[in-house]
Amino acid sequence: MMEKFKIDRKFWPLLVTIGLFLLLYAYGFFSYRGFSNPQVFFNLFIDNAFLLITSIGMTFVILSGGIDLSIGAVIAFTTVLSAYLSEDWGLHPLVVIPMVLLVGTLLGAVMGSIIQFFKVQPFIVTLAGMFFARGMCFVISTDAITISHPFYRTLSLFRIPLFGKTFIPINVVIFLVVLAAAIYLAHFTRFGRTVYAIGGNEQSALLMGLPVARTKVLVYTLNGFCSALAGVVFSVYMLSGYGLYTNGLELDAIASVVIGGTQLTGGVGYVAGTVFGVLIQGLIQTTIMFQGTLNSWWTKIVVGLLTLLFIMMQSAFASARRTRLAAKSIDKSADRLPVGETELVPDA
């Protein structure tokens, strides 16, 4: 039982992320009037629900060693398509939502297939996907389309009251479901473990007989689905569809994943870390808003520096582990020699 209390070193980056979040929160809590309102905490989830959902999808992509630049565009496309289908075609939201989810998923599947079967770099393929999805938004409508269907409005105004005057809307519930599903997927299914394996060493995964091609396509498909779902959540949140929504969101998502302790080379990281990555960014933004006089661009600068800090920390952890191992193996080198150690610990 005792060993349960020993924290595995691989959890450290995650703990640092959580610790930082709590520190930031504590700072705001004692510094600003109104910050102590628990609703401020819930607002982090409410305002970032879509980012949280899409970042979870992005976590899988990055864990598999890939990248997806199209998510912001796919979200915008989903909102426009939802608005268009429900307003101009008069379809019921219960028809529209599955349709747009399908479209987003397909888009992801197509990109994943091109990446996998044509061996083109994800960076370029998803860049093209981003152009395509943004372009399609404007082909459908150059204007913002208001969504007036009562179903959407009801969803949007729906509140689940918690203690005091606090509440959460349906967005947050969807996010929680996605989070639970993602953690299950990552740690309790073969798909999830295969994603980690591919991120660790794709060649090995292939030789271990794992379904690499299928999994990689699925990862992008899953991310397409998450983006589309985030798009649905966003269209409920905004009650409109617009091609300029969530511009540059992919960078926020990538930064969240990195701050959340996932290595961009793939193979190492946690879905839960990403959640805190998003929340930290939201918290920085909130703090700067509460401060009230700082230029909002400080958010960007702080997030940039934080990203850097976390990357530095990751490589520090990795090299610390390496030297520790080397030292250990010198002590009892008779048994175990650390040859090739450095090559096998993935570079941060």
């Binding site: 073969r190 980690y196 394996a197 060493n201 060649q203 007989g209 030292a327 010198i330 020699l337 993935p346």
Partner: protein
């Protein structure tokens, strides 16, 4: 014709051609239950193609494969594994970021209600490792463990209860003697359980140590299958390379001749040079015209020593003088300026620059030593490249071939050419013959002695003691990252060095 009755596996008349190459022509192979069968041959003899056909990576053009008397056709490595054919490849093909347990069982993990049952997973992994007498924490990331253990994990992964055949492709190339012995224990144990094991290696010692039978391939054709006990070593080698080995005799003579011309004054001198965590302080002298061998197990500190001498790592202890001058700046470039050259151990990772041409690879170090602005014109580059292609007998259509398209031995020669082009006084060769065939090996060993004869100083590092002894005038023995002995002249005996290495 082998007796088909007790054969576990029978491959008959296997042919495989790739565009323009006949990789396998009418090859027969048989494997018995409870047998360790070595597959021998030079590089390009067709060993790996045969394995690929067997494990479903490639499909034969003709011929059939019988397992337990039934014809099989593996579609993929996974399918082969389901059929009972498990493979451990030369480079450890596992995921360092996953836990040991997962590495063993991923792809066939135990499930409960459709989700991975982690308790059961750990339990099963431990069971499998127990079978191999290995006791490690299965929840730790694989990358935390040394290579030898990773190799064992790879075998554990390959083994299933239903495995009938285990293929080990060069499993010992990165293991030291102790670890190899451990591996052999495991192999013997599995053999006792009735598994058929196909064992591929370049180490002849090991073949004679462990195998029951061996099959020799040459140029895609079967030379023959022999009982190990009945085939003398020299015969095996000549069957593999297809010619006699008088050359080796010549070389020993040659070495004695060159030994007479070693300079008195040391060219390179290290005094208590060392680096914490890498190599204990040591003293070293190297003379012009001399070949100094480094012997020791893998990981004993041979490469680390070479790295210090060449400035890949900087020492934090002691001093080094070169040609009477104290060395202050440690970096490869400074070493090149001093007239040193270094063929690193890992040819693929640290040696060749795959996407560049042979010509560019050859001039690389020379160009680096000349700096950014003293550019060698393409014409001059071709001149240099052609000279060394001819001198070292590099098999390439022309100097503008990409170096990654060359065979391992020729790549090694290109790296040698790169260094010879800088006209060095001192060469450090770390495992220059690893993974290349016997023919090219001899050529390189000979070249080293020729260089010594020209008055250059060489350090020759190799895992094969025999090779070190054949080429070196003097040998330094390392153990546990420490120089433990220096032998010369009559002391150069295999047995004696072995004792020192073993620490007894």
């Amino acid at each position: 014709m082998p007796n088909t009755n007790d054969s576990l596996l029978l491959m008959q008349g296997i042919c495989k051609n790739f565009p323009g190459v006949q990789a396998l022509l009418d090859v027969d192979f048989s494997l018995r239950r409870g047998e360790i069968h070595a597959l021998m041959g030079e590089n390009g003899a067709g060993k790996s193609t045969l394995i690929k056909v067997l494990t479903g990576v490639e499909r034969q053009n003709s011929g059939k494969i019988l397992l337990d008397g039934k014809e099989i056709l593996a579609k993929s490595p996974l399918h082969a594994q389901e059929l009972g054919i498990s493979t451990v490849f030369q480079e450890i093909n596992l995921c360092p970021n996953l836990s040991v347990a997962e590495n063993i069982l991923i792809g066939r993990e135990p499930k409960k209600f459709g989700s991975i049952n982690w308790t059961q997973l750990k339990h099963q992994a431990r069971q499998i490792l127990d079978r191999l007498d290995i006791d490690i924490d299965v929840t730790q990331s694989l990358g935390m463990y040394p290579v030898a253990l990773q190799q064992m994990v790879a075998i554990a992964r390959a083994l299933e209860i239903s495995s009938k055949i285990l293929i080990l492709d060069e499993p010992t190339s990165s293991l030291d003697a102790r670890e190899t012995e451990k591996l052999f224990d495991v192999m013997r144990k599995l053999k006792g359980e009735g598994l058929g094991i196909i064992f591929i290696t370049h180490f002849l010692d090991q073949v004679y140590q462990i195998s029951d039978r061996m099959t020799v391939l040459r140029n895609g054709r079967l030379v023959g299958t022999y009982d190990t006990a009945e085939l003398p070593r020299m015969d095996l080698v000549s069957k593999m390379i297809g010619r006699s080995l008088d050359e080796l005799e010549d070389m020993t003579r040659f070495k004695h001749e060159t030994g007479k011309r070693i300079a008195q004054e040391p060219l390179l001198e290290a005094h208590q040079l060392g680096r914490t965590g890498s190599i204990q302080p040591f003293d070293l002298e190297l003379h012009a015209g001399e070949v100094l061998g480094f012997a020791g197990l893998l990981g004993a500190g041979r490469t680390e020593t070479a790295n210090l001498l060449f400035g890949v790592d900087s020492p934090d202890h002691g001093t080094m003088t070169f040609d009477g001058q104290e060395v202050k700046k440690f970096s490869p470039l400074n070493s090149i300026h001093r007239g040193m050259a270094y063929c690193p151990e890992d040819r693929k990772a640290d040696g060749i620059v795959g996407d560049l041409t042979v010509r560019e690879n050859i001039v690389l170090a020379l160009q680096a030593s000349q700096g950014w602005f003293k550019f060698l014109s393409p014409k001059k580059q071709t001149e240099i490249a052609d000279k060394y292609i001819k001198l070292l007998n590099i098999a390439t259509p022309n100097a503008d071939q990409l170096v990654k398209n060359l065979s391992g031995g020729n790549q090694q020669k290109v790296i040698l050419a790169r260094w010879l082009a800088t006209n060095p006084q001192t060469l450090i060769l770390d495992e220059p013959t690893r993974g290349i065939d016997v023919g090219a090996k001899t050529e390189i060993q000979k070249l080293v002695l020729e260089l010594a004869e020209e008055g250059k100083a060489c350090i020759f590092i190799s895992s094969e003691l025999e090779e070190v002894l054949r080429t070196s005038h003097r040998v330094m023995v390392l153990r546990d990252r420490e120089v433990v002995a220096e032998l010369a002249g009559g002391e150069l005996e295999e047995k004696k060095i072995m004792q020192i290495i073993a620490g007894s």
